[in-house]
């Protein structure tokens, strides 16, 4: 089921963050984790036999069942926040490469 798949994606993203030491791979794992989370949030709002929550001449309030619109609004915000974080992480990675000439966190000359 989709909720199980979303949770597995989320945990796989966390796993990727833990084992990788390459900056770009860590950013990709972070994105996988966020995708899993967003999928989970959307799946909370599903209603069987529901349609998209847009009022048209055929889909009025009494006539059809709608899916939950609130998780969709939350996911909109979460996706944009994920984009912002990824952009910043990539900029830091570029600065890291300019300074240490590698993308590997463990090879930097800082005492991490």
């Amino acid at each position: 089921m989709i909720q199980y798949a979303a949770i597995v994606l989320f945990v796989l993203g966390l796993y990727g963050l833990v084992i990788n030491r390459n900056l770009i791979k860590m950013i990709v794992s972070l994105n996988v984790m966020e995708i899993g989370l967003n999928l989970f949030i959307i799946s909370i709002g599903f209603v069987y036999d529901g349609v998209a929550p847009i009022i048209t001449s055929t889909n009025t309030v009494g006539a059809v069942l709608f899916v939950d619109p609130l998780p969709q609004a939350l996911v909109l915000t979460a996706i944009v926040i994920g984009v912002g974080t990824t952009a910043l992480a990539l900029a830091i990675a570029k600065g890291f490469y300019t300074r240490y000439n590698t993308y590997d966190l463990s090879k930097a000359e800082e005492d991490l």
């Binding site: 989320f10 890291f96 966190l105």
Partner: protein, 458 residues
């Protein structure tokens, strides 16, 4: 006049400040001053946003707890700005956004809104830490912060699926009606871990050593005192009202906090660099504050947050300026720092003695009061651990002070501006005054957090 101006005006100033780099620092000063002044004129209570009453819309809660928190946060940001205007002028927009988001974090009554403000504050904090010019540490901080926020969102969504609302007061009402705590363990654990990353609780605080260990006079005070204070206030409100830990979860949380206190003090004891000593002491204090909130001792936790924030402000300013001028913060290399700067040395000593809890200083009053309240609830383990921690604290702080006062072989000369010295004197005097005259502290009590009152009245 509505409390939302505390968030809207700094935000407007931030959007306008990128149009002109020159006036940006002055916009920052104006916004911080505006926030401090307007708080005297704002009415207390709930503030509705957008005209949609809860739980349809979002609302803010402006009560005494929030007022105290915001006075502390806005005042500290104003002080840090004035001290760093020349050196870090290009971070003015970032500081404006930090100001707006930390205000929003403390004021909000909606859990998803808290997530959004947590993210804004987090990204501003990554940028502030990038002023240390250590991209590896900043990246580590970013990854941990992003994971923490995602875990918080995960827990929040499970709560929404269970109860159907995102408003904090509404949610607590529904939780009380529905009993069964076993269902709430997973979301509460996730939210606790999520906020614990930013609040420096062990074991999620591996970013602290890198970011604060190499900080400068702007990033050190901002992250160690301003952010620590604001996150502690928001975290405290959630622990006290929403989480209400019970049973096995309570034991697990208490173990995590005890470990945080013990390990924090142990690592501070073993540190040779002064900044590491200070940041591990900060970690231990954060765990003590969380412990007090878990036990419901709200007012003394608030006083401890305030005392810790202003103490860490002074200590980080002193040491970071010294590190900036001499290039090192190793205890042995800074020997005799105070033999040339007697005034700075005296204020630093006052602040350090207050943290240890010596009589005559505010730290002693606070420590005595919360220990006696813990004794009243029979929390012997907590008292034993805090006393042990205070002993260790005393040893390493006194050792540090001895090193810094008595000259070694090298000449250490650091110059502190007049503005720095004025700040140090005011803080030291404050700690002295409230240590001897404690009547104003006793006027407020646990009821400053009005969420519980609102829920009881229906």
């Amino acid at each position: 006049m509505s409390a939302v101006l505390l968030i809207a005006i700094p935000l407007l100033a931030a959007f306008l400040s990128i149009l002109s780099k020159k006036i940006a620092p002055y916009l920052l000063l104006a916004a911080a001053l505006f926030n401090l002044v307007i708080m005297f004129f704002l009415p207390e209570g709930f503030v509705v946003i957008g005209g949609f009453i809860e739980p349809l819309g979002i609302n803010l809660l402006f009560d005494t707890y929030a007022k105290i928190a915001l006075f502390l946060v806005d005042g500290l940001i104003l002080v840090i700005t004035i001290l760093n205007l020349k050196a870090y002028g290009k971070f003015a927009t970032v500081l404006l956004l930090a100001l707006a988001s930390l205000n929003g974090l403390v004021l909000t009554n909606d859990l998803f809104n808290l997530f959004v403000f947590l993210e804004i504050a987090g990204i501003a904090s990554y940028l502030i830490s990038s002023s240390n010019r250590k991209p590896g540490h900043t990246f580590h901080y970013l990854v941990l912060g992003a994971v923490g926020s995602s875990l918080y969102l995960f827990g929040l969504i499970i709560l929404y699926a269970m109860f159907g609302t995102l408003n904090m007061v509404d949610l607590i009402d529904k939780i009380i009606l529905n009993g069964n705590y076993g269902n709430l363990v997973l979301p509460f654990v996730l939210m606790f871990i999520g906020l614990g990353v930013e609040a420096k609780l062990l074991p999620f605080n591996s970013w602290v050593k890198g970011v604060l260990g190499k900080s400068n006079t702007m990033s050190g005070p901002m992250i160690a005192s301003v952010y620590a204070g604001a996150i502690a206030f928001a975290f405290g409100r959630l622990i006290n009202n929403l989480f209400q830990f019970q049973g096995t979860l309570l034991t697990v949380v208490l173990v995590i906090l005890f470990l945080g206190i013990v390990l924090g003090e142990a690592m501070a004891f073993a540190a040779t660099k002064v900044r590491e000593l200070l940041l591990f002491s900060d970690v231990a204090q954060a765990s003590i504050i969380a412990l007090l909130f878990v036990n419901g001792i709200v007012i003394w936790a608030v006083y401890l947050i305030i005392a810790n924030a202003i103490s860490k402000l002074v200590m980080f300013l002193v040491i970071n300026k010294a590190a900036h001028d001499t290039g090192t913060d190793d205890m042995n290399d800074l020997q005799g720092l105070f033999s040339k700067n007697i005034l700075v040395g005296i204020t630093f000593t006052v602040v350090a003695l207050s943290i240890i809890g010596m009589p005559l200083f505010a730290g002693f009053v606070i420590k005595l009061s919360f220990l006696s309240q813990l004794a009243q609830s029979g929390q012997i383990a907590a008292i034993a651990i805090i006393l042990l921690a205070s002993l260790v604290e005393g040893i390493y702080f006194v050792r540090l002070l001895v090193k810094l006062w008595y000259k070694g072989d090298k000449e250490v000369s650091v110059n502190y501006n007049l503005s720095f010295k004025v700040v140090f004197i005011i803080v030291a005097l404050g700690l002295l005054v409230f240590g001897t005259y404690r009547a104003p502290l006793d006027k407020l009590d646990n009821s400053i957090d009005t969420v519980a009152e609102v829920i009881n009245n229906g």
